[in-house]
């Protein structure tokens, strides 16, 4: 009896996965509330990870994730599927992230270091000579993330979406409302800038 219920649950889960996002959207539009719950279950972690990388703050990322789904819920009734549902969600998340950074820049809590300062810190961090490796790893992580934060807003968005969200160039172009060529230019510049900023780290390690 127990095995039967587990089997049914498993089948139901598999069925859920078989239903694509657009079909769930259609179901939601026809009044099936659970369809939105399923969409949320599918994307909440991905959207949260994306926003966490963007805003670097757990609570703010959680709040923005809620805002993304709130906006999506309100607008889904009139949404026309010109692109994938996931692309649309990332567009909402990206816009909220931009607003967040604008708001932070108007009311700055801290200021970013300029490139020279970051480079000096990178030179000073020689991981091979420091015995407290754990602390160094943590500091090195912070320095690398600071370098990522040095990218322009568009470069960072493009880099994050392609690298960590698995979006194709065309999907990023749809998400950010750019031409594919522009996305590529931003991506190339982002990687080149990271290479320049992080150069001291690998030079010290002699890769």
């Amino acid at each position: 009896m127990i095995s039967c219920s587990i089997l049914n649950e498993s089948l139901a889960n598999n069925m859920d996965k078989m239903i694509d996002d657009e079909m769930l959207v259609t179901q939601f539009k026809s009044g099936i509330q659970k369809a939105f719950d399923e969409l949320m279950k599918r994307y909440e972690r991905r959207i949260f990870s994306y926003l966490l990388r963007s805003v670097r703050n757990y609570e703010d990322a959680e709040e923005l994730t809620l805002e993304v789904f709130f906006k999506a819920y309100r607008a889904l009734g009139s949404w026309e599927p010109k692109a994938k549902f996931s692309t649309w969600l990332y567009t909402i998340a990206s816009n909220l992230s931009i607003d967040y950074h604008r708001s932070k820049s108007r009311h700055p809590v801290f200021t970013f270091e300029d490139e020279d300062v970051i480079e000096k810190r990178l030179v000073a961090t020689d991981i091979s000579s420091n015995p407290e490796k754990q602390l160094e790893d943590k500091e090195r992580g912070e320095i690398i993330r600071a370098a990522v934060d040095e990218l322009s807003a568009k470069q960072k968005e493009v880099f994050m979406l392609t690298r960590y969200e698995g979006l194709q160039i065309k999907e990023v172009a749809d998400t950010l409302g750019m031409a594919e060529g522009t996305v590529k230019i931003h991506l190339h510049r982002a990687i080149k800038k990271l290479q320049t900023l992080l150069q001291p780290l690998w030079e010290n390690n002699e890769i």
Binding site: R45, R53, R140, E142, R145, R163, I191
Partner: protein, 205 residues
């Protein structure tokens, strides 16, 4: 070592896997002979690996979003329909009303009954003895004065007729009474009647 002519963008595209299959195969073949490109590729791969590691540190493997679903629906319930059109608001109101009626039928029927009784009491007020319409007091007074005036003439006329039959010999007394009634009833039908009786009595004198 001479610097090769492969563009930086092409190297980046190769590292991030953005080259198409034939171009990637061609570049892989090029890498077997070009130390400059090998170094470039290694540097870029290392940069991306460093960033991947640093980014993975801040993104926990098991993300637990505390009750996001409940938070969303609570937020939706609290937030007014700011951007909704009048039509959608009306539709929303009707659908909510329908839902309430469906779910809370006995309570809603009871409530509606109470509302109906309250309105009836306020508008009709069956316990009130005062007339439900108001007459113009001035108009009513004039009508009453007119009515009493006619009643007075009628009483005088009746006295005249009664005296005429009781006192048949006193013709002068009757003529005198009819003349007072005629003055009293000036401008009314009673004056015509008094005049008619006066002519009849006068002819007998």
């Amino acid at each position: 070592m001479t610097k090769c002519k492969i563009s930086e963008a092409q190297v980046i595209d190769y590292v991030i896997g953005a080259l198409d299959v034939p171009s990637a195969a061609e570049y892989r073949h090029h890498l077997t002979t070009c130390n400059h490109c090998i170094r470039q590729v290694n540097v870029l791969k290392h940069v991306l690996q460093l960033v991947d590691t640093a980014e993975a540190e801040i993104t926990p493997n098991a993300i637990v979003l505390t009750d996001l679903n409940s938070k969303l629906y609570r937020r939706l319930a609290e937030e007014p329909l700011q951007n909704a059109s009048v039509q959608s608001r009306f539709t929303d109101f009707i659908s909510r009303l329908g839902l309430i009626l469906q779910l809370q039928k006995p309570a809603v029927v009871g409530l509606l009954a109470v509302v109906a009784i309250t309105i009836t009491l306020l508008v009709v007020n069956p316990f009130d003895n005062e007339p439900t319409f108001e007459v113009d007091q001035t108009e009513s007074a004039n009508a009453r004065i007119e009515q009493y005036h006619h009643q007075g003439i009628q009483r005088s006329m009746e006295d005249v007729i009664r005296n005429k039959h009781l006192r048949q010999s006193d013709e002068w007394g009757t003529v005198s009474q009819l003349n007072r009634v005629k003055d009293q009833a000036k401008g009314t039908d009673w004056a015509t009647l008094a005049n008619k009786h006066l002519k009849g009595v006068s002819s007998k004198l």
